[in-house]
């Protein structure tokens, strides 16, 4: 119902895409599953891809004609000034925007080449494959253990042994195990903000997603917690495809492999993708004047 594929948009899409393809070589279906030796030398595949993506809430257009790849097993940062629609963009990737009344999506979002907005696409399955970590840590008002076990329980895992193993493994991967292993039964709300955010990451990892979306995951955290989360992201990208929305440009520069810059022309107009490329390129040698202005702090 939200999906409206429009033939004619395809053509404009191709034009914009060429610019992107110059930056990122994409070997089509020639998928490589193994390790990676740094950007540029490895063959890249796109885990997800946005094609002519538009979003409106009621009459208000929030995003327009976004074309952007999300390379597999790397970190893609989406940066832009407040209100440019970058969080909304993230929520298009796991169809969380559907929860907003009056939200309408145009264009396509491909996950492994399949349009997630196609009729009959399984939303529950999508959200299992594309997990999300929110701006403000939002653990459930349950125990630490139950927070991590929540997803597996949803999918019908009941055996205590299996759950125990998943909980431990997920907490280890989220670099939280050592801090909480002796108090798995206490409330998740007793943890510090940074720990809560890592718990939320562990909760997402427990359902073994393929993509993890992070919506300004550090904006509510102190510098040390932020550092820990960033280190964690570095480790996680070996296994997962990560998309992070941030208004902190240093963070984008520090953690991401690719960066997309979104901005709006004026208050109230829809957000558009100005530039997408390797992070190093975008930050050191931006192609667009707008990007340069933004990252050098001239506006935003």
């Amino acid at each position: 119902m939200l999906h409206e594929a429009e033939e004619k948009e395809e053509e404009t899409v191709k034009g914009t895409k060429e610019a992107i393809l110059e930056v990122i070589e994409r070997p089509g279906d020639n998928r490589t599953e193994g390790g990676r030796e740094g950007i540029g030398t490895r063959a890249l595949e796109n885990k997800m891809e946005l094609i002519g993506l538009g979003l409106s809430y009621g009459d208000r257009k929030v995003l327009e004609d976004i074309n952007m790849p999300i390379p597999a097993r790397s970190i893609t940062a989406v940066i832009g000034p407040s209100g440019c629609g970058k969080s909304s963009l993230l929520r298009c990737l796991n169809r969380m925007n559907e929860l907003v009344d009056g939200a309408r999506v145009e264009g396509k979002v491909l996950l492994d080449g399949e349009d997630v907005y196609a009729n009959g696409f399984d939303v529950v399955g999508l959200r299992r494959r594309v997990g999300m970590v929110f701006q403000k840590p939002n653990p459930f008002p349950k125990s630490i253990y139950e927070n991590v076990a929540y997803g597996p329980r949803l999918y019908g895992v009941k055996q205590r042994k299996v759950l125990d193993r998943i909980v431990e493994e997920s907490l280890r991967r989220a670099a939280l195990w050592d801090e909480v292993k002796d108090k798995l039964g206490s409330s998740a709300l007793s943890l510090s903000g940074g720990q809560q955010q890592r718990l939320c990451i562990a909760r997402v990892l427990a359902v073994q997603p393929e993509v993890i979306l992070l919506d300004e995951p550090c904006s509510a955290l102190d510098p040390i917690s932020t550092q820990r989360i960033e280190d964690l992201l570095h480790e996680l990208k070996e296994l997962y495809t990560i998309v992070i929305v941030t208004h902190n440009m240093q963070q984008a520069a520090r953690v991401s492999d690719f960066t997309g810059f979104i901005t709006i022309d004026e208050q109230g107009s829809p957000g558009r993708l100005v530039e997408f490329g390797e992070t190093r390129e975008v930050f050191t040698n931006p192609k667009e004047k707008k990007t340069e202005d933004y990252i050098t702090g001239r506006f935003g």
Partner: protein, 315 residues
């Protein structure tokens, strides 16, 4: 989702307000205002206090002359000196429970629907309906119950058609908006972030409700049901019109009986002495029941405020 950014009108800084000469009586005025307002606020508590004292004093002859054993017995024949109120107590409990059995599931279903499933237009439509239903005078519900519900029950179940069943149905309609509104409010009070986290992990709406939102809102939902029960306990008019009445234990759901409220209403005008005093004793017991329920609600809401970290939430 980011909140919509409103375009801000550019305006100069507000003009400074000219400071007038200081009012020499400013302090005294404040004191007067505080005391006037404090008195307004005290009236309600004072009224309650006097009410309890009055009920207690008026019921004293009954406790003293008939005795508690007599009052908590099952025979009510004031002319023979029997003041047993058990029939009415049972009647009150039965219609209140009955109304909850019928009304609470409907109300909770409504609350959950409005919270999690309804589209805005449906929300408005049903929300308004609840508001209006809450405002319908009980005499109208009782009258409709008497003219339509009772004949219906009579036709299908026989007997007089009066009794606990029709009373429970009428009360269910009365308490439905109370329970639905408060339960919905407590569902809405659960931080949206919890539901979002659950949905983003691939939970369905129902899984999210069952595993996250409803457990977190549970104390509030219980409070809603209890407040509904309180309303059912105290309702008189609507019940009196469909319950019979008769001073007898109900044999089944459709034999006439009595409740505390209906008995008091029907006999208050023609009673004297210990008989009258025993009616006050019934009123006192009814008040004690309602106060107990209020206390229960307070305890439950304290639990909600304490945070959702209470043990009850580990599921």
């Amino acid at each position: 989702m980011k909140p919509h950014l409103k375009r801000e009108e550019k305006a100069g800084p507000p003009a400074p307000v000219a400071a007038g000469p200081a009012d020499p009586l400013r302090g005294q005025k404040e004191t007067v205002v505080r005391w006037v307002l404090r008195l307004c606020a005290l009236v309600s508590v004072l009224g309650l206090f006097l009410m309890v004292i009055f009920l207690f004093r008026e019921s004293l002859p009954a406790w003293r002359e008939a005795g508690a054993a007599n009052i908590f017995s099952s025979e009510w024949s004031p002319d023979k000196g029997k003041y047993g109120i058990l029939i009415f107590l049972v009647g009150t409990m039965a219609v209140s429970t009955g109304s909850l059995i019928i009304g609470a599931p409907l109300a909770l279903g409504t609350a959950v629907y409005l919270h999690a499933y309804a589209k805005p237009s449906w929300k408005r439509f049903i929300g308004r309906g609840l508001e209006v239903l809450a405002g319908v005078p009980s005499i109208i519900l009782g009258w409709l119950g008497f003219t339509t519900l009772v004949p219906l029950v009579r036709r299908f179940a026989g007997g007089t058609g009066m009794g606990i069943l029709p009373a429970s149905i009428v009360l269910a309609v009365m308490i439905l908006p109370t329970i639905a509104t408060i339960a919905r409010d407590s569902l809405e009070a659960v931080p949206k972030a919890f539901a979002e986290a659950s949905l983003s992990m691939g939970a369905t709406r129902w899984q999210t409700l069952r595993r996250v939102t409803i457990p977190a809102a549970w104390p509030g939902i219980l409070a809603a049901v209890i407040l509904g029960l309180g309303r059912a306990l105290g309702e008189t008019m609507a019940v009196a019109m469909v319950i019979g009445p008769a001073t007898a234990f109900p044999k089944n759901l459709i034999t006439p009986t009595h409740t505390l409220t209906t008995k008091i209403m029907l006999e208050m005008g023609e009673s004297t002495g210990v008989h009258r005093s025993s009616l006050f004793a019934m009123a006192l017991i009814l008040l004690a029941l309602s106060m107990f329920l209020i206390w229960l609600v307070r305890r439950l809401s304290a639990k909600t405020i304490k945070g959702t970290s209470g043990g009850a939430f580990y599921c």
